[in-house]
């Protein structure tokens, strides 16, 4: 680790966080016009949020979708990761691993709009209605590659001899999974759950097409934001960012603690 490396990393961190810092700064700016220089500081934009029904409804809708989406994409990612680790342990019998990974990755690489339009068409041909459940399924689909990658990395660090020892001591496959493997990846599993939740909160494109009458916060903000920039929208973004940061920090802690 050289001094130059620290400089590169400091520069990268500054680049990644400067826009977010500027955004947060303006949420506390007293001036209704968003411009430099900032004349005074205030908390009133946050107060205004508490009386904004569209914001509160959107937040509730977002959380109603995000929590199950986080849990399901973590469990689905665990299932996929277990299979993929099985494949790396016995590469000869694993002809299916590459097509399986491609099938998981494809929706993430498909342009979101194309995927959402295709899903909308399929739904209407089947006569199904749009709404939270459909949106949740679509979000799980694009979040699965993230959680699968995270959990595969975690599972590859688990020593397979521990599971073999469990088997030798007479545990069935389910007991072995539940009492040996699962406790070893509990931290990463929680991390995947919160990553899935955050990515669900962040989604706009799928929600625009599939949410139906339920409008998540991201869609509410996007439609307001098309028109103008307002200090109370800044404050709203800061609230969303704080929730995100909290979840990321918890995930990092869980991941390290295992």
């Amino acid at each position: 680790m050289r001094a130059r490396d620290w400089r590169v990393l400091a520069l990268a961190a500054a680049y990644l966080y400067l826009p977010i810092l500027v955004l947060s700064l303006f949420a506390f700016s007293d001036d209704a016009v968003i411009a430099f220089p900032i004349t005074g500081l205030t908390l009133r934009w946050f107060g205004a949020l508490a009386g904004n029904a569209a914001f509160l409804d959107g937040f509730a809708t977002s959380m109603t979708i995000a929590i199950p989406v986080g849990a399901i994409s973590a469990l689905g990612g665990l299932a996929a990761a277990l299979a993929l680790r099985g494949a790396t342990l016995r590469p000869r019998a694993a002809w299916w691993a590459a097509p399986f990974a491609a099938l998981l990755l494809a929706p993430f690489l498909t342009p979101r709009t194309v995927l959402a339009v295709a899903q909308s068409m399929a739904l209407s041909e089947l006569g199904l209605r749009r709404g939270m459940a459909v949106l949740g399924a679509a979000q799980v689909l694009v979040i699965l590659p993230f959680t699968t990658a995270l959990l595969t990395a975690a599972l590859l660090r688990v020593d397979p001899r521990l599971e073999e020892a469990g088997r030798d001591l007479g545990a069935g496959p389910w007991a072995c999974f539940q009492r040996v493997t699962l406790p070893l990846v509990r931290g990463p599993l929680m991390a995947a759950c919160s990553a899935g939740m955050i990515l669900s909160l962040a989604d706009v494109t799928l929600a625009t097409f599939l949410a139906g009458r339920a409008q998540p916060l991201s869609v509410v903000v996007a439609s307001e934001f098309m028109r103008e920039m307002r200090p109370d929208l800044n404050a709203m973004q800061v609230v969303v960012l704080s929730v995100t940061a909290l979840a990321v920090a918890l995930a990092a802690l869980w991941r390290r603690r295992r």
Binding site: M1, D5, V8, L9, A12, L16, Y17, P19, I20, V22, F26, V33, I34, F36, P37, G76, A79, A80, L82, A83, L84, G86, A93, F100, L104, A106, P107, L109, T110, P111, R112, T113, V114, L115, V117, A118, M121, A122, V140, L144, P173, I198, L199, A202, D203, V204, S218, V221, A222, F225, M226, M229, L233, Q237, L241, T244, V248, A249, A252, R256
Partner: protein, 290 residues
């Protein structure tokens, strides 16, 4: 026991096929359907595909998507390599912090990021304020907001972490003593990078380029919100054909044409990566013989 361990794959695969693959197949069926009044009739009508092929606007939009993706895939490695190499040299105890710092901006919503960049690039934004304060400019630079450039700036920001992650994983996987040995044998840092580090991390680089290309080409939101008058994309056209114009066959044909073009580009990149790897191995073998 063999079967049991992999039993968790089929349900996930079934879900992905049902929610991801099946709608795209439905889209292909719609693309050759015929519009009769307000309903679609099953047919084998290539009208929509012909229209996509004949329309300079649609071909131009698909080309623009490829252009955005290609530019990002070529530019992000320039910034990602120094970051990934520095991260790989970080002491073990600090690496998780590096990962968190890198990943957090990924988790902020697209809307938050675009919003933040509007505050950076606007006429009264941070960059213009700083330049004006330094006395470098008289009037705010207007070209920074609502142009193709501003869309590219934000897309670069959005895709950089993916490129860093891909290269970082590759750098961690290769034996860095090889680079140190090259240094000890008198190679300059640039030669070490070009002859040792780059060939050995090529897999990560190509994987990152594929992901960044797909994300850049498929991003509709950033051009729409940052690009101003130049904000139209193939995706926004699909959306309006699907919604307002109610021409589902045309929307489907355009969407599939876009996807096929992008998949073709990624396939070409993969082929290129495979050939580069093979030729590197061949030349290494030849050198070894001599």
């Amino acid at each position: 026991m063999k079967a049991r361990r992999e039993a968790s794959a089929p349900p996930v695969a079934l879900f992905a096929a049902l929610c991801g693959l099946a709608p795209l197949v439905a889209m292909a069926v719609v693309s050759v359907a015929r519009i009769e009044g307000y309903t679609l009739a099953l047919a084998l009508d290539l009208r929509a595909w012909r229209e996509v092929a004949a329309s300079p606007v649609m071909r131009g939009l698909i080309g623009q998507a490829v252009f955005y993706g290609a530019i990002l895939a070529c530019l992000t490695p320039l910034a990602a390599y120094p970051i990934a190499l520095a991260l790989a040299r970080t002491p073990m105890a600090w690496k998780w912090l590096g990962a968190v710092v890198l990943l957090t901006p990924l988790y902020t919503g697209e809307i938050v990021r675009i919003y933040a960049w509007r505050l950076m690039l606007g006429a009264q934004g941070l960059i213009n304020a700083a330049l004006g304060w330094a006395g470098l400019i008289e009037a705010p630079v207007q070209a920074l907001l609502y142009t193709r450039l501003s869309a590219l700036i934000v897309m670069f920001y959005n895709t950089l972490p993916f490129m860093v992650l891909a290269i970082w994983a590759a750098v961690e996987a290769f034996d860095r003593r090889l680079a140190e040995a090259a240094r000890d044998l008198g190679a300059s840092p640039w030669v070490v990078f070009r002859r040792v580090t780059l060939p050995l991390t090529r897999v990560g680089l190509f994987a990152g380029m594929g992901v960044v290309f797909a994300l850049g080409a498929g991003d509709a939101l950033t051009p729409a919100l940052m690009g101003g008058a130049n904000g139209a994309t193939a995706m926004s056209m699909i959306e309006s054909l699907f919604g307002a114009a109610f021409d589902w066959p045309l929307a489907s044909a355009l969407g599939l044409a876009l996807m096929l073009t992008l998949a073709g580009c990624v396939a070409a990149l993969t082929l290129l990566a495979g050939r580069a790897r093979r030729s590197a191995r061949r030349s290494a073998r030849r050198r070894g013989k001599i």
